[in-house]
Symmetry: C2
Subunit: 309 residues, 2 copies
């Protein structure tokens, strides 16, 4: 593949995707981040350009992967005025990987086409380790022909394509992703209540988790987050702040569809509570800090970092 | 085994447990139900006594399995006055299988011992099919020595003991059971929201369920209830009314522990909503009737049956 690839937003996800691509022999030509130091460091590691502007990114690449925080960041990098990835974008392809609203994906596609470019959404239902090892679960939305064109690239990020799914037109992959995270966040917040109440009752939590795993209470998050909840091990793989954002996207969709989703609302409430208590940087398993007796937010420690995803 | 076994409460669970015991060569001597016709029919099938009173049950049995609806039913069959299983109970063992509060199990044990008898709780985390085939997941609370004495009986109901768990003193198995169902009900109500919103967005629900199953949204209830939610197939294995009862037990425990459990509350709200809309007899998967557009309770159809569990 002689195509030049750039990555915009090199937080933990974006940086690991860039590393993986280099490892697989792709030509990563440039990286960019709203925190220039972060981009410079990665550029040095990978031996590529640390782009000074978004327009420089587009000039240096045929395909631009973006992994930014939220809708606002998408608006900014694809803005119609000022510095923008859309400057000189004729013939470029943008692959947008962040979990953002379906509407912004459709808007970006419109703007990209106006600039003579194309865009896809490639929503990731996995975490940092999977980004590094190229085993991301990728759900792709956009035009099928465009998807087919970049399958080699996408396959190298998704276990040779085993975890690659074409979902449908622009916005649909983002819808599915929002639903995945909405349900995951409900299950996570619910598990934290089950374990927290078990602890309050004095039950052996190892036994309780074993019983959960063998019964109707079983879930993927039991396997990924159960022990971390018990052990208060909340190093961040997927932050509570991101959980709040993603449940928020789903609830916006529900509101527009005039659907009542009380469980999704309750889960959003919990993750928002974490954010406002200064716990938004904890992993989503940290929701157990709200449901175990004697734990809970310490209102004085309010440090937050942005995560680039 | 020459011990005589009686079964009180022969709804779908109790009746199938009795059938299984007969099949495995146990001597089922009597059955009883608050609906005499139901008991008479099963007695004819099994060739045993259809007991006219609770005292008759105790007289006819060494071990009495009870599978009744709720705490109130437990109060009634173990009442201190009037007709009661405790009449002439010297030397008997009661094994109580219904999902009821931990407190009532402890109270029944106290009363049983006063009458010279013993009691265990054997909480079931499975459904009707498993009752019939003797593959119930059984969680036992009570005295260890008493548990050991009846292991042969309990093993014959729990896949040769593979699914048999001794949890701890009286009340602890009921606590674990309440937590299992609380988490299961949260996951079920949450899944119904995810699929309902997916339907409202026009997504292919087969694809959506496949993605759920491969991501952090996966859960046991996705496998057991997902398709039923999509197909509106709500034949009852575990009713919404029971889901409401069990989440209610868990929330009582949470209240006493002064824990906030917003997800459990939201799930209870959904299952209570079903009950008051006359949908309490539907399987728990019927919670999707509340979350799919164009479905929903039909307020005119208000028939309810009790289920004997």
């Amino acid at each position: 593949m002689s195509l030049r690839i750039a990555v915009v937003g090199v937080g933990r996800m974006g940086a690991n995707m860039a590393r993986r691509l280099v490892e697989r022999g792709f030509s990563v030509s440039a990286v960019f981040d709203s925190r220039p130091g972060v981009a410079a460091e990665l550029a040095a590691e990978l031996g590529c350009l640390s782009a000074g502007t978004l327009a420089d990114v587009t000039a240096a690449a045929d395909i631009v992967l973006t992994v930014v925080t939220d809708d606002r960041a998408m608006e900014r990098i694809f803005s119609r005025k000022g510095d923008s990835l859309l400057k000189g974008a004729q013939g470029r392809l943008f692959i947008n990987c962040a979990t953002v609203s379906p509407a912004i994906h459709r808007e970006v596609l419109k703007r990209a086409r106006k600039a003579g470019a194309e865009s896809l959404e490639a929503c990731m239902a996995s975490s940092i380790t999977q980004a590094r090892s190229g085993t991301l679960y990728l759900m792709v939305g956009g035009e099928r022909a465009v998807f087919d064109r970049v399958q080699p690239l996408l396959r190298s990020l998704s276990d040779g394509g085993k975890l690659l799914r074409y979902i449908g037109p622009a916005g649909t992959a983002a819808q599915v992703k929002a639903l995945v995270n909405m349900v995951m966040n409900i299950n996570t917040a619910g598990l934290a209540e089950g374990l927290g109440l078990g602890a309050a009752l004095g039950l052996d939590l190892k036994m309780l988790m074993e019983v959960f795993s063998q019964t109707g209470a079983n879930s993927r998050v039991l396997a990924t987050d159960g022990e971390d909840m018990v052990n208060r091990e909340h190093s961040c793989f997927f932050s509570a702040a991101h959980a709040a954002k993603d449940s928020g996207i789903a609830l916006d969709l529900a509101r527009k569809a005039r659907l009542k989703t009380p469980l999704a609302s309750a889960a959003l409430g919990q993750f928002r509570r974490m954010v406002s208590a200064g716990l938004g940087d904890l992993d989503k398993s940290g929701v157990a800090e709200l449901t175990f007796k004697g734990r809970g937010p310490k209102p004085r420690r309010r440090g937050r970092r942005s995560t680039g995803r």
